[in-house]
């Protein structure tokens, strides 16, 4: 057991995936000799060489398209889109090609493609390099979406994504790269579709991922002083979504708050609340709340971005409001 950062866990996950299967290769912009824009692929080029770790031109459509074509022939591409925002450049490949080819061919083609993308805000990268972009892809059946929030999940879900037979978008949060936690010497490969009950509680269920998971935990800690006990659940993957774990929690707490970093419209939080209202309205003691940023581009200045992103204080206030309902 050693202590590893989220970034180191990603690096180990990629390295172990490359070592485990000759069919896995890594492509992206500056992932090779430069070790990645965020150093998540540091050392892999030296270890695995230019055949398996490939620097591409700044060509996101070519990166994802190349991954799709290679997967059609049985390889397991691990593609990197440097910032999740750049998925906009190759939206056709991710939304129209990758998730639909299996279906349109009647199952003749299977695409075990993993696309890693650096996600999320909080570091002053402004509107085109800070988005929590996972919600863009919720409306595209055929994709799976992983949103790890800890070093162990960063490792486990990365390995699971590469081993999965279907396309997986893997979002790594830029604000968590230096978060440290214990990581076993031989960490477990994760499972897609399994939420984690991060903290048990009785009064209210708070569902949150990535940076918001950590802020929800801060809020939970702060609320203990008010004798309030909240249960924090990290879904870990948005598709498939572990509705069973959330539902079982709600059966005990009867109150739901969802905290997400992306804007509210057409989001996983909104979808979760809609499903809970549709299927479990009678067990709810208060209206579910969606805590999300304002519907604006991500601002630059620290005062603006801090006000934009849901804070632990805002989450705690929402819990109080829910309990007082």
């Amino acid at each position: 057991m050693t202590v590893a950062t989220y970034k180191e866990a990603i690096n180990r996950g990629i390295g172990d995936a490359l070592a485990a299967d000759e069919d896995v290769f890594l492509i992206g912009e500056d992932v090779g000799a430069a070790g990645g824009a965020f150093k998540t692929t540091d050392g892999l080029f030296d270890r695995f060489g230019p055949r398996r770790v490939l620097d591409t031109p700044i060509s996101e459509q070519a990166i994802v398209g190349c991954a799709i074509g290679a997967a059609m022939r049985g390889l397991r591409p691990l593609a990197e889109i440097m910032f999740a925002d750049f998925a906009g450049v190759c939206f056709d490949q991710i939304a129209n090609e990758l998730p639909k080819i299996r279906y349109m061919t009647g199952g003749q083609v299977t695409l075990p493609v993993t696309i890693r993308m650096a996600n999320g805000g909080g570091a002053g990268f402004a509107a085109q390099h800070s988005q929590a972009a996972e919600n863009w892809f919720l409306n595209v059946p055929g994709l799976k979406i992983a949103v790890p929030g800890t070093p162990a999940d960063a490792y486990g879900l990365l390995r699971a994504a590469v081993e999965d037979p279907d396309p997986v978008l893997y979002f790594e949060h830029k604000g968590l790269f230096n978060v440290k936690a214990e990581l076993p010497d031989a960490p477990l490969v994760g499972k897609l579709g399994r939420a984690e009950v991060v903290r048990t509680g009785e009064d209210c269920t708070v569902v949150a991922s990535q940076l918001m998971r950590h802020r929800a935990l801060e809020a939970a800690e702060a609320l203990t002083g008010e004798d309030v006990s909240i249960e924090v659940i990290d879904p870990r993957t948005l598709v498939p979504f572990d509705h069973e774990t959330v539902g079982a929690s709600l059966d005990r707490t009867n109150r739901l708050i969802v905290v997400q970093e992306g804007p509210p419209g057409g989001s996983w939080g909104a979808s979760l609340i809609a499903k809970v209202v549709q299927e479990r309205l009678e067990i709810l003691d208060a209206p579910p709340l969606l805590i999300a940023p304002d519907e604006i581009p991500v601002p630059y200045a620290s005062t603006l971005e801090a006000a934009y992103l849901p804070s632990a204080e805002r989450i705690a206030a929402a819990v109080r409001r829910t309990l007082a309902y």
């Binding site: 290769f25 055949r51 591409t56 031109p57 060509s59 996101e60 459509q61 070519a62 994802v64 398209g65 190349c66 991954a67 799709i68 074509g69 290679a70 997967a71 059609m72 022939r73 049985g74 390889l75 591409p77 056709d92 490949q93 129209n96 090609e97 998730p99 080819i101 299996r102 279906y103 349109m104 061919t105 009647g106 199952g107 003749q108 083609v109 299977t110 059946p141 055929g142 799976k144 037979p165 279907d166 499903k275 549709q278 299927e279």
Partner: protein
């Protein structure tokens, strides 16, 4: 323009190319009729007049090579050997269609024949073709990927990204541009500043060639040369095949925008009649040629009858084939 040593292609092969072109022509004519009769959903994009590009290029491939094409791809798919009945079945939305009725006219696929996909977003499959070629390179199989696309696709960004990547990595992919003079309803000159689309290869330091796309032997010989170059590490080639779409863009397009006389001029260069003339000059009798056409048309008619008798997919099958792990759950809560 490439000149071809047709002598190296045996007459038997030329006769088989004639059969294949007749089958594609008859297949497309049947599709046209079926749309008129309301038997087919959505739209369709026919390739009458372009058969020589598909047949000649496919004939230059080997087992294990792969092919991607566009939504105007019936000809390319059939040229690779996909069965006529299951191709019709797919267009009719049948359970025994090539794609179990999930794809239709624009997405005919038969992986067992190297047909790994027909794509309906213009240009989107060019980057995918680089990946197919990448896999061949990665595994050292010596296989090549044939990638068909239209003149209109040379103006979309994916074209640039794909050709650039293919060239810097020297991937074994053959980019075959079927220049049929129209991108949907617009003549190529109104959308594209260069006259010879193959010249765009110069931007990627890529081999290029322009051929008469209505000459099946020229297509075959050119693609075979490019394939050999690709297999031996010489990288990709951009091949511009000059041809003509004898029908409109899609079923709803009467193509009234074409200048007077243009269609007639191209009908005189029809790939089927030209191949017949070539064979006739080489001593094949009119009766033999007529028989090739008749047999092809009969094969198509019989295949269509079999396709019409195929069952429709069960509604529950809609939930299958999204994920490898099993069917999607129906959204039953609402």
């Amino acid at each position: 323009m490439t000149t071809v040593d047709a002598a190296r292609i045996p007459q038997e092969a030329e006769l088989d190319h004639l059969r294949a072109m007749h089958e594609i022509r008859a297949f497309e004519d049947e599709c046209h009729r079926m749309f008129a009769q309301g038997l087919v959903r959505g739209s369709t994009h026919l390739c009458q007049g372009q058969e020589a590009v598909a047949v000649g290029a496919a004939a230059a491939l080997r087992d294990g090579d792969t092919m991607t094409c566009t939504y105007r791809g019936h000809g390319a798919v059939l040229a690779m050997g996909a069965p006529l009945d299951r191709a019709f079945g797919e267009i009719l939305g049948k359970a025994d269609g090539l794609c179990r009725g999930k794809g239709g006219s624009m997405h005919l696929t038969d992986v067992s024949r190297g047909v790994v996909g027909s794509f309906a977003i213009v240009g989107a499959h060019l980057p995918i073709a680089t990946g197919l070629a990448f896999a061949a390179r990665y595994r050292g199989t010596g296989e090549v990927t044939l990638c068909f696309f239209g003149d209109g696709a040379t103006n979309i960004g994916a074209f640039h990204e794909a050709l650039n990547l293919a060239s810097i990595w020297k991937l074994p992919v053959l980019f075959v541009c079927e220049n049929n003079l129209y991108g949907e309803y617009s003549p190529i000159a109104s959308t594209t500043p260069v006259t010879r689309l193959a010249d765009r290869a110069d931007s990627y330091a890529m081999a290029k060639t322009v051929i008469d796309g209505n000459d099946v032997l020229a297509v075959r010989a050119t693609v075979a040369d490019a394939a050999e170059l690709a297999r031996t590490g010489g990288g990709p080639t951009l091949i511009e095949a000059l041809t003509y779409r004898q029908k409109g863009h899609s079923r709803s397009d009467p193509a009234t925008y074409r200048p007077a006389g243009e269609l007639d001029a191209w009908l005189e260069r029809d790939p089927i009649t030209r191949t017949e003339a070539s064979l006739r000059a080489a001593g094949v009798s009119d009766a033999q040629l007529a028989e090739v056409g008749e047999r092809a048309r009969s094969a198509v008619t019989e295949a269509l009858e079999r396709a019409k008798a195929m069952p429709d997919p069960e509604p529950a099958e809609r939930l299958e084939d999204v994920y490898a792990g099993g069917p999607v759950q129906a959204w039953s809560a609402a």
